[in-house]
Symmetry: C2
Subunit: 259 residues, 2 copies
């Protein structure tokens, strides 16, 4: 089982879209895939029509279990998405309170890692969708994953955010024996704007060893897919955006050690 | 002096873009305007080419002052933006640590409000740009403002986020004598996508008394403006996006009690 984390402290760069796109493609290719929503804002949970205010069994139950010294079976937190071979562990609003509590509870940095360890034989791939903020939830995701995907919108403000994200990565993963492999994925590329063209160029020059050689273009089908609640791989399989994510998944599967 | 807060817990909906657009227009019309960046991710600070990792004097100094019982003059934290009549109080990275510390320090919910009180005679308008997360920083901004602007991208996931934002607003402003007036501003409207058209319709039906009657269209000039580090009002004064924000400012100034 491979655990992928999709994270970036900048908001609205396509983290949830990347998670649903990759997950849908993996399921379409017959690989058993679990999506985990660790964003208190719960976009991924809403995408599949679950109400994050009304859920009993969610990612939060894992943290509550650790705090109250009770075992929680991660399998009991898994919900269907309506797509064959694609499951969801949803978020609920209470996740937002964790950052304020974390100071009190040591060992809260490995809750997700331990839960994923118990799912080893059930899934081929797990993808973690992160909130746009550095806190105990993102730290959990970075500790739990085998590979990190950083979507970066091809525009100036997101480029500044990338420096910060990589700075965070260094800080948080210092304790790992082997550095965490990561890919920077340029998203929402719009060839009509100078800003897109120039920021992509800066990205490639600044991080030559980590930026994916291709990109995900601006594609209106992503908004349509999220309205329909269906992964882009099934909603618009031939759209430019889905085809780009298809290329990314293929390369990640073939050889996730290099680009 | 009027204090406006621009907030939404959903990431990437145009909070920083709205802040810079409104600020630039107010300055262009000769109104003395201060922009305050209270997002630890510091997009607004980066927009004007300041490095959030290297700043001595920032919004964080206000919180540090309260924690250490030292007075800090808000005027000493103000920086130029390069645009006449438009100043900036930048963010720095240390703001991200506040949520974890807030539990220890009571009265941290009014730090911004008190600082703005000391600037009453210096500015006509102050605009606060918020991070995409509910925490002590957003609570400060909601306590400090006279009027709230909630940018909402016209797409499904942001619509779900809007319910949550209004739920937060109810919780946080219960203690106010008079309810906080707010506008919901539809942004990044793309008439080519069904999702945009439908979500705008749902917004208008669900919140008839609070959604602005017009909208901000998708406009590639915003990315170009942020790359140039110049407010859209000066960078692309005739672009569709800037003209739309111009209409919004005019209405807000004429009569901010009603739409
Ligand atoms: N390649 C793309 N082309 C066009 N629109 C896109 C693309 N990728 C994502 N979007 C749209 O951009 C918006 C933001 O995307 P998304 O919610 O995935 O970002 P995010 O990084 O997860 O945001 P948050 O920081 O709130 O978690 C959504 O409306 C989505 O449909
Ligand atoms: N009307 C618009 N048309 C096209 N692009 C836009 C529009 N408004 C904002 N953008 C672009 O969308 C991206 C996100 O906008 P912005 O950074 O202002 O959102 P935000 O809500 O402040 O994000 P965060 O949650 O990270 O603070 C930026 O690249 C910006 O240039
Ligand atoms: Mg998301
Ligand atoms: Mg912003």
């Amino acid at each position: 089982m491979k655990v992928w984390t999709v994270a970036n402290q900048k908001g609205g760069v396509g983290k949830t879209t990347t998670t649903v796109s990759l997950g849908g493609l993996l399921a379409q290719w017959g690989l058993r895939t679990l999506l985990v929503d660790i964003d208190p804002h719960a976009s991924l949970t809403s995408y599949f029509r679950y109400d994050p205010d009304g859920l009993e069994e969610s990612v939060y139950s894992l943290f509550k279990g650790v705090a109250q010294n009770q075992t929680v079976d991660p399998l009991s937190l898994i919900h269907p998405t309506g797509t064959e071979g694609l499951d969801l562990m949803p978020a609920e609003m209470a996740l937002a309170t964790l950052d304020r509590q974390a100071g009190k509870l040591d060992g809260m940095g490995l809750v997700i890692k331990q839960a994923m360890g118990q799912l080893q034989n059930r899934y081929d791939h797990v993808i973690l969708d992160c909130p746009p903020i550095l806190g105990v939830l993102m730290i959990n995701a970075l500790a739990a994953c085998d590979h990190l995907i950083i979507p970066v919108q091809t525009e100036f403000l997101s480029l500044k955010g990338l420096e910060r994200m990589l700075h965070t990565l260094d800080m948080v993963t210092k304790s790992r024996r082997v550095p965490l492999p990561y890919h920077i994925v340029p998203t929402m590329y719009d060839q009509r704007t100078r800003a897109s063209i120039d920021s992509l160029k800066v990205m490639r020059e600044s991080y030559p060893d980590h930026v994916w050689h291709s990109l995900v273009p601006v594609d209106t089908q992503f908004r349509e897919a999220s309205k329909a609640g269906i992964p882009p791989a099934f909603f618009a399989p031939q759209s430019h955006g889905t085809l780009a994510y298809g290329k990314l998944v293929e390369e990640l599967l073939n050889d996730h050690e290099t680009l």
